[in-house]
Symmetry: C2
Subunit: 510 residues, 2 copies
Amino acid sequence: MDSEPKRRPGARRRAAESTPKRVVNYRQLRHPFTPQQVFSDDEVAALHDTALRVCEELGIRILLPEARAILRAAGARVVDDMVFIGRDLIAAALASAPHSVRLRAANPAREQVYETGAMLFTPGSGCPNVTDRQRGRRAGSLESYLETLKLHQTYDVIHILGPSAEPQDVPPALRHYAMMQGQMALSDKPMFVYARGRAQIEQSLEMIRIGLALSEDDFNTGAWAVTVINSNSPRLLDNPMAQGLIDFARAGQMSIVTPFCLAGAMAPVTVAGALTLQHAEALAAIALVQMTRSGAPVSYGGFSSNVDMKSGAPAFGTPEHVKMQIGAGQLARHIGLPWRSAAGAAANANDMQATTENMMGLWGGMMGHATAIIHAAGWLEGGLSFGYEKFINDIEALQIIAELCVKPSGAEAEIGFDAIAEVAPSGHFFAAAHTMSRYSTAFYAPLVADLSNFGTWEAAGAQTADQRATAIWQANLRDFKAPPGAAEAADRLADYIALKTAAGGAPPLE
Amino acid sequence: MDSEPKRRPGARRRAAESTPKRVVNYRQLRHPFTPQQVFSDDEVAALHDTALRVCEELGIRILLPEARAILRAAGARVVDDMVFIGRDLIAAALASAPHSVRLRAANPAREQVYETGAMLFTPGSGCPNVTDRQRGRRAGSLESYLETLKLHQTYDVIHILGPSAEPQDVPPALRHYAMMQGQMALSDKPMFVYARGRAQIEQSLEMIRIGLALSEDDFNTGAWAVTVINSNSPRLLDNPMAQGLIDFARAGQMSIVTPFCLAGAMAPVTVAGALTLQHAEALAAIALVQMTRSGAPVSYGGFSSNVDMKSGAPAFGTPEHVKMQIGAGQLARHIGLPWRSAAGAAANANDMQATTENMMGLWGGMMGHATAIIHAAGWLEGGLSFGYEKFINDIEALQIIAELCVKPSGAEAEIGFDAIAEVAPSGHFFAAAHTMSRYSTAFYAPLVADLSNFGTWEAAGAQTADQRATAIWQANLRDFKAPPGAAEAADRLADYIALKTAAGGAPPLE
């Protein structure tokens, strides 16, 4: 069944040199598929309503007095560190939250519009360790942080930078200098800034102004920095996260609000229960942003999945994860905001499990119509490691998805009646005029997939996808060229960093 | 970012013994997602119309005189071996083709309704070779054919049997005896029969009647056998395929019509062009079925993908493949018939490429709303090998997809306001009453995924997903028990097979 195809590579190869290369824009993507549902509209409304009840009746514990004061001033009831946020206040916050945020970048061609319908990928982020086939698994360092930035910059399908590797060899009080300098020295994409306390945030934003030579007016034209704010589920907002929401809002920068609700551990064991908690925590954080500064950029978000029933370990790419992605998308549309989802793998190796998990999360994010799919490439061990070879293989998947954003032409010429007429029954199209004029740009050219037959593949060393990926990231690093203006940006930062370093830096907020 | 979760496995493990196991029906699945589009409705209509022009103006070459005679009698124009099929004839065929086919099986609980909205998976099929980590890559044999049947039977998410391994050590004239006997001796699912000439088909159907002790009336209640008919693209229907269409139609058995159109090789280089050819060939085959016997079971189908631009090798799981899956689904809905799609991998190893390719094909089939997704598990090397470990890992993906067919409950109790109220801020839900009463059945339990953390995983031998899969298929084979009645079915066949074997068997039609 499904008989074997013809293979006639000869003609193809001969013509390959003289034909134009295919160019597809992977930089700005729009979702190709319509969003899906796991809940009825009534159920979504009930989930939303229950989340409002959680906010107003059960309350959210917010450790930062300043945050409580902002919410109290806006009308919330505060008892000790518990904040009870009424539905009117949340409705007001949802009314003022922007539906569309301009994410600015050093290179205008790398800008993004963060809104429903856009599809943005970020690399696996927040990983304490990195791993590759050449050097093994090790703690993240400045070297690996900078290497991973080069990899992010190399592939257009990565739309926002992320801290793939934690530079643990840089003292915590100085780490943000290295991270900001690295992003501006090596990339021209929208940047990520950690919310690790006011001093670091202020300095990081100052570095963006200096590095990119922005006037105050320039800086105010959109969000130049993106952060991810995790509530400490269930129902706790800690000091750095609350301060991050406030500081990013005041500065007009982008907070991506993300309760990390693992059903059965930090959240109820059901899909609907976990999403209710996620939704309540997200609404509270969005309220804090909007009560700090009405109209400040903010994204709804969720990274809900489940734990393994046997071990309590977090699981990703599970059916429950995918259902929560789709349900979260429904909740986001219910409140009218763009949202972030997440892919990623629990696997410990570059294996079929890792790919199955990440692919499920990518498709779940697409089915949930997420504006940002975070951890889309390279995230292993539930985020404890960033894998170089995994990153390359995941980029292949992202590029395939990016290609799906371009609809095929259905126009008459493309339908190819003439092409079909050109070839006799049981003939082949390799040399048809219709083929020759199109083949060099007709198809996606794989990054890491090896399509040679078994014999050829074996004779060439039987390299698996992770082995081939090693050569690819090595070539990416070897051939890397910083984008125009990046060296100048780094230069502009040098004095500022030297001065601040001499003054002891800025320790992170605990 | 996305801070690390709590892990509290203790309570979980202690309670695990006394709680009920989760049961989800993977046997009969309905598509959980709405179908997608790559073409506008006008474009679909234009594609269909162009395919009609191919049938009536360019014609299909049909080698079998009997098939030409049937179509000529129905009004087609025949010139030598070229058959020109008018749109009236095709419209009549589409009007009589059933929209729903009952696929019968030895076990009534394994029956399927083959119709739009159903989602059926078949194993990787038609492979000349098999490969596993224990015994390496080798030619398919009766032993491997029977082993793969045991694997198909083990997993409910495989809905129709398929010839995963070609039993090349059985003489071609006797092979169908071994294959039919194997299917009935080891499984109670809907069976696959190769269309390798009238004598083999008649004998295979006779074996179904004898093995399952069916009366003529029983046999006529639905389709007991499924075959896949590949046209020899472009525009050729060879002798065994044409005879298969005729013989299956006459016997009321199921033909899944499948042009195998690789864009750039056996089909035009564009998505629309390849689909036009696919559609024309499928329509011609459906016409032959319906003109043979009005109302005979038949499925529309397509296995269109593209070749690699560099080598001419077939590629799977590519963006073009996915677009063709979605476009083929649109064409199937346009003509109102259920259709088959295909997943599968071009990769030569159990690696990330293999999984990326298969996952893209699985999701493409879902986006295209295919009734059957063939080659859904274990298909490597573009079908030249069936991989045992690949099969197990693909089954994991299929089971996750099967879980997605069950919507989460959005009902009030599930929403878990009380559960959220039960746990203090920053506490955990491991021991919550809401969790304890549900956790043992809340989540999908992985088949091969290992969710332990890196240290535990490494200490346990750092087994990758393909290594773990070896132990799983070995256990499946070791623990295999044939379903009730299977031994009796095989017994009933013994005399028939001995008799026919003594008479020299039935050589396949060339």
